[in-house]
């Protein structure tokens, strides 16, 4: 706001309104960019610069391999350290986008003479891409609504817990870059549809390629975009722009995606990708009909031609699909895809998917936790979108609605919904605030402009206030504005709190409060993995439940039988069977797998509840799914899972129980409780006199969280 009373000295620095706006916009974006980065650094400050959780350890290990051996070795890497004795073709079974991105950043930094370690690059990749996502959100918001909505969207997505949960520093997972790629692809596609330019279509194809290289969630794009095109066709919004954008994006994107070995020919062979191909052909038919219509002047003739062509096209498509399916050329939908469409599918058919906590259906509380006020702003934003329908707003509405459905099916897919929710909510916030400020700044004589008010009750009241006298209306607008800012500030506080409390724990290192309020750190996982790395033979094979496979190979540098890749259900079931058998039966299995060490995670001393005893029923279920010898009821008493004296005899003598509680009966865990009191489950254990015949204790960490047993060689027969 240039002030005429400013002295002449300041005149050269006086900015035009447009320049001021640019300055404010750029500085807000810069601040948001920085905010998105630093809000994700809680875990680095509280703990250290380390990789979190399970899957990121595999990604880190492969990235390390990539930087050390180069791209071609990485691409052709056969990893004999996992899935012993099968091994894993790493290059052909992963999405390399994340690793290549991190390796490129690493190379670039080294080229610029920043001698950083690859671990720091990996730790900070996710926050860096989260920052980039805020920029994309800004441009996307600008494209579908206006630059104000873009700015709000950038701010909302920068701190939204739903996104932060997967992109804190150290969470080096595919999702970290994939959400960026997803939103970027959508933005480029919407831009291409709006402009009808081949260049933007090409850009969106490359965005899609990056997304395919980064995450399996690309299937969402390749189904959403055809659906969107279909909706536009049905609603009569077909245009040349759409034709150019979709065809360019689909054909080029498909060809590029085929370069990723893990995806290969799925675009033409798998059921999940057929919708896109169908829409592609439909578009050609549409275009052809359009052209014929243009050529033919006779509408009656055209009607006949139309019916024939449509019948033929549908018939040809149906036959092609049927033949493809019948001959096995087109594979049917996978179990994972089914479980998305039908939430109960996994529970009945694929226990290995159902056993993962992040694949559970979402509870209402976690929606509230991850979205906070966005959950209420989302419908308001949808209203605004419907009020101003355009190709772009239709897209964001469809993206929002479909992703919300998927977010309801699986907890982890809240992540996919987050950008849409943020964008739509940003529209609601931006439109409301804009209307209110226009109202505030309007002079008394200006006519009422309340016609574009929102639907929520707050806005209804503001509408009511419009009918009153002007000062009252201004006060109402003022109050509403304050209310909006109050809500937004609550949102910011909530997001920071959630990030700090819930999403910034590395889960490798556990922290607890000690008796005197000091922080106690349980670093048992790394203790055990480092022990494995240093004090076992380099070719030792370690058997554990699959959750710890990636960590053992990455931190322990030892061969594992199964890991988090879970590509071979039978192999996992064999391990599950070994864990749930009696020791001598298990020994046979262990010998047949050539195992040297068995690793179990046990929380009875510290009260750490996500240990192997609590996961044990899943081992039984997965094992029993392949080997009917293992029956779940054998481990339950009246349908109840117990470990105390009343537990099932098979439970008290199975390998997992023995390994977890070996010599635990001598241990005093809590004052005033009998020895052998399990703090994780709050009971005294039922079998205190555990003798091991074929295994011996090799190492137990200081808080007993990880216990490693050595498999003895077979006894001499003579």
């Amino acid at each position: 706001m240039s002030n005429s009373s400013t002295s002449d000295l300041l005149k050269p620095f006086k900015l035009k309104t447009k320049q001021q706006e640019l300055l404010i916009r750029v500085s807000i974006l810069c601040l948001v960019y920085i905010l998105a980065f630093i809000t994700r650094l809680f875990s680095v400050l509280r703990y250290e610069s380390m990789i979190h959780e399970f899957d990121p350890y595999f990604n880190y290990r492969t990235t390390l391999y990539l930087t050390q051996h180069g791209f071609y070795d990485f691409w052709n890497w056969f990893d004999y350290e996992s899935w012993y004795p099968l091994g894993r073709i790493v290059g052909g079974t992963l999405y390399p986008g994340l690793m290549v991105t991190a390796a490129l950043i690493y190379r670039l930094l080294h080229f610029l003479r920043f001698a950083v370690h690859i671990r720091e690059v990996c730790v900070l990749t996710a926050p860096f891409f989260a920052s980039n996502t805020t920029l994309v959100a800004y441009f996307f918001g600008k494209e579908i609504w206006d630059s104000g909505a873009g700015l709000v969207a950038a701010i909302l997505i920068a701190v939204c817990p739903g996104y932060i949960s997967r992109s804190v520093a150290g969470s080096y997972d595919n999702e970290g870059v994939a959400i960026f790629a997803l939103l970027f692809t959508f933005y480029l596609f919407v831009k291409a549809v709006n402009k009808g330019s081949l260049a933007w279509g090409l850009a969106s194809a490359f965005g899609y390629f990056y997304m395919v290289s980064a995450w399996g969630g690309y299937v969402f794009i390749i189904n959403l975009i055809p659906l969107y095109v279909l909706v536009l066709l049905i609603t009569g919004r077909y245009s040349m722009r759409l034709y150019v954008a979709y065809n360019c994006m689909y054909i080029l994107g498909m060809l590029l995606a085929m370069q990723i070995r893990f995806v290969g020919f799925q675009h033409v062979q798998s059921g999940e990708h057929m919708a896109a191909m169908g829409v592609f052909f439909l578009m050609q038919v549409f275009y052809f009909l359009d052209w014929v219509k243009h050529m033919l002047s006779d509408t009656k003739l055209f009607q006949e031609f139309l019916s024939i062509t449509v019948t033929c096209a549908v018939a040809a498509g149906g036959i092609a699909l049927g033949v493809g399916m019948a001959s096995g050329y087109i594979s049917p939908w996978t179990g994972r895809f089914y479980s998305l469409l039908d939430p109960t599918y996994a529970k009945d058919h694929i226990p290995i998917i159902a056993s993962v906590s992040e694949h559970q259906p979402t509870a209402w509380s976690s929606f509230m936790f991850d979205f906070h006020i966005l959950l209420f702003l989302f419908p308001a934003g949808l209203y605004f979108c419907f009020k101003r329908l355009s190709d772009a707003t239709i897209f964001i509405v469809m993206y929002g609605l479909t992703s919300m459905y998927f977010a309801g099916v699986m907890v982890r897919l809240i992540l996919v919904a987050t950008p849409a929710v943020c964008l739509i909510s940003a529209i609601a916030v931006s439109a409301t605030v804009k209307n209110l400020t226009v109202l505030l700044r309007s002079k008394n004589k200006v006519a009422q402009i309340g016609s574009t008010k929102g639907t929520s009750s707050a806005k209804a009241s503001s509408k009511a206030s419009l009918d009153q006298s002007q000062p009252f209306q201004k006060n109402g607008a003022m109050a509403l504005l304050f209310g909006a800012f109050y809500l937004l500030s609550r949102y910011a506080t909530h997001c920071t709190w959630v990030t700090s409390e819930a999403y910034s724990s590395p889960s490798i290192v556990l922290a607890a409060r000690g008796a005197h309020g000091n922080r106690v750190i349980f670093d048992d996982y790394r203790e055990a993995y480092f022990w494995l790395r240093q004090n076992t033979p380099p070719d030792a094979k370690v058997m554990s439940w699959w959750d710890y496979g990636y960590q053992i190979t990455a931190m322990g540098n030892r061969t594992v039988i199964v890991d988090n890749n879970t590509w071979n259900n039978t192999h996992i079931a064999t391990v599950g069977r070994a864990m749930s058998s009696y020791e001598d039966e298990a020994y046979e299995i262990i010998r047949s797998l050539d195992v040297d060490y068995v690793l179990v995670v046990f929380g009875g001393v510290t009260g750490y509840s996500s240990d192997d005893i609590n996961k044990f029923l899943w081992m039984v279920r997965i094992g029993g799914g392949v080997f009917p010898v293992i029956k779940e009821p054998d481990y339950l008493v009246n349908g109840e899972y117990r470990v105390d004296k009343g537990a099932a005899p098979k439970m008290l003598n199975c390998l997992m129980y023995k390994l977890s509680y070996y010599r635990f009966g001598e241990m005093m865990t809590e004052y005033g409780k009998p020895p052998g009191y399990d703090r994780a489950r709050g009971v005294e254990i039922g079998n205190k006199d555990i003798k091991l015949e074929h295994l011996e204790e090799a190492f137990t960490t200081s808080n007993w969280i990880v216990r490693i047993y050595k498999v003895k060689p077979p006894n001499n027969r003579w």
Binding site: Y47, E48, M50, R113, F114, A115, I508, V509, I521, D523, R526, E527, Y529, F530, W531, R533, Q534, N535, M555, R663, E666, M667, E696, E697, A698, F699, T700, T701, S702, W704
Partner: protein
């Protein structure tokens, strides 16, 4: 070397027909040792031997060189040899350090290895002097049994000779061996010898000719952890902005009796004295005072079990490995810390700079098998030269760190078989122009400047093709 050869020439005609060994020994200046006392301290895994020799010149020519000899097995494990001589009378005695150098004699019996002590004043005929010799042996206690279970204590063999191996005639000698505890399984008796408490006494033995040897074997309990650093790389990086950054990479191993069978955490936690008595629970590192930003980590991240105690004279860092080290177990880790530069970097009168820093490993009671010290000089420094009080292998490298263009010169020094006694100072001299300090800030500033110029240019230039 010259003196014995000359002496030999003189005597050569007369003693022509004598046995070779006798010929040699008698040729050695006619020195004889009138009294020798040896105290061997076996209480830790580094064997400390204090040797007090009363040397007498029985010959006619003055000499300033005294030879020490070691059997080859011991010579391989010899970490350091020091010789001192007392000066002054009665209360005002001061110890003066003498030069000691490894010497090759062409025809040593049974490959014995020699060290020559150079006396400050030549020993005249008929005179005698007392020399104190201290030498340290590493890897000289052999665990037997070689593998023990968690609850067993560690027994070791120590091999030596009851008689001091010397190229000179020794009139009278006594050896005292101090064991860490009273638990001695067995020891070779060479009469007169006896054991009282933690001490075994051999001797006194009278009049033994040169190269007398009488092997002894002592089997005793030694539960001190055998902390051996197989490889240590110390990197000292000088920044003229006021910081000295030290990074030390350790490969630590417990070189005692190998752990066998079960490791039970219950036993280890409930009865720590009986179980895993020889295990390595913690290490103490003595760091310079005013140390800051200390970290202790390994390949997979930070290790939270360490404590730093600082006072004005020294800093002590107590580190616990992730797990207790039993025999044969390994651990690798990195310690890093920063130090104020003014405590260690000085200027010479001729405008050169030099770093004055300790050479050895800061861990107490630790043997280092191989030590590499790398001194990373700031970018742009020239003519590096190192001064080390003992022989080391040296070469130069180039390292690229943050924002380096031409790379930093690294002075690399390597030495094998080190004990804490090697923690003496060394100096690295170099020349450096302070203008180079500004190179990196200027580079950064110009990069940012170019970036902003590019931004301004982008905002002011219209790049569209169509007008």
């Amino acid at each position: 070397m010259e003196a014995p050869i000359r002496a030999r020439e003189a005597l050569g005609f007369i003693l022509f027909s004598l046995l070779f060994s006798i010929c040699r020994s008698s040729s050695l200046n006619h020195l004889l040792i009138s009294n020798a006392e040896r105290r061997i301290d076996l209480s830790s895994h580094i064997v400390k031997v204090y040797l007090t020799l009363k040397v007498e010149n029985a010959g006619s020519t003055p000499t300033s060189e005294v030879l020490l000899s070691f059997p080859p097995t011991q010579a391989d494990h010899l970490a350091t040899v020091e010789a001192l001589v007392t000066k002054g009378k009665r209360k005002k005695t001061t110890l003066v350090r003498l030069d000691v150098k490894a010497t090759e004699l062409p025809d040593a019996p049974n490959d014995a290895k020699y060290f020559t002590i150079y006396l400050a004043n030549p020993l005249k005929s008929g005179e005698s002097t007392t020399i104190e010799v201290l030498y340290l042996l590493t890897h000289s206690q052999e665990p037997f049994p070689a593998e023990i279970a968690q609850s067993e204590s560690q027994l070791v063999y120590y091999r030596d000779s009851a008689l001091i191996l010397s190229p000179y005639h020794i009139k009278q000698q006594t050896t005292f061996i101090k064991t860490p505890s009273t638990k001695v399984e067995s020891f070779t008796r060479v009469e007169p010898s006896n054991r009282a408490g933690t001490e075994i006494k051999y001797g006194p033995y009278e009049d033994h000719p040169p190269y007398s040897f009488s092997p002894i074997l002592i089997h005793f309990e030694n539960n001190s952890p055998f902390a051996v650093v197989e490889e240590l790389v110390r990197e000292v990086e000088i920044s003229h902005w006021g910081n000295l950054q030290v990074t030390e990479q350790y490969t630590l191993v417990h070189a005692g009796a190998r752990h066998k069978g079960v490791f039970s955490r219950v036993d280890y936690q409930s009865r720590p004295t009986l179980n895993g008595a020889s295990s390595l629970r913690y290490l103490l590192a003595r760091l310079p005072p005013r140390v800051h930003s200390v970290y202790y980590r390994d390949e997979i991240g930070n290790i939270s079990s360490s404590h730093l105690r600082t006072d004005s004279r020294k800093s002590e860092l107590e580190i616990e490995p992730r797990y207790p080290l039993f025999g044969g177990w390994k651990a690798t880790f990195v310690i890093g810390y920063g130090l104020p530069l003014q405590d260690f970097l000085f200027e010479t009168s001729d405008d050169r700079r030099y770093l004055n820093f300790t050479f050895g490993c800061p861990l107490l009671e630790t043997v280092v098998d191989k030590l590499t010290v790398k001194v990373v000089l700031p970018e742009g420094s020239k003519d590096p030269s190192a001064v080390v009080p003992f022989p080391v292998e040296q070469h130069l490298e180039t390292k690229y760190s943050y924002l380096d263009v031409v790379g930093r010169t690294v002075v690399v020094m390597e030495k094998k078989n080190l004990v804490p006694a090697h923690n003496s100072h060394f100096q690295v001299y170099y020349t450096f122009k302070p203008i180079f300090m500004l190179a990196e800030p200027l580079m950064l500033a110009s990069a940012f400047f170019l970036f902003f110029v590019a931004c301004v240019a982008y905002l002011h230039i219209d790049l569209s093709i169509r007008k």
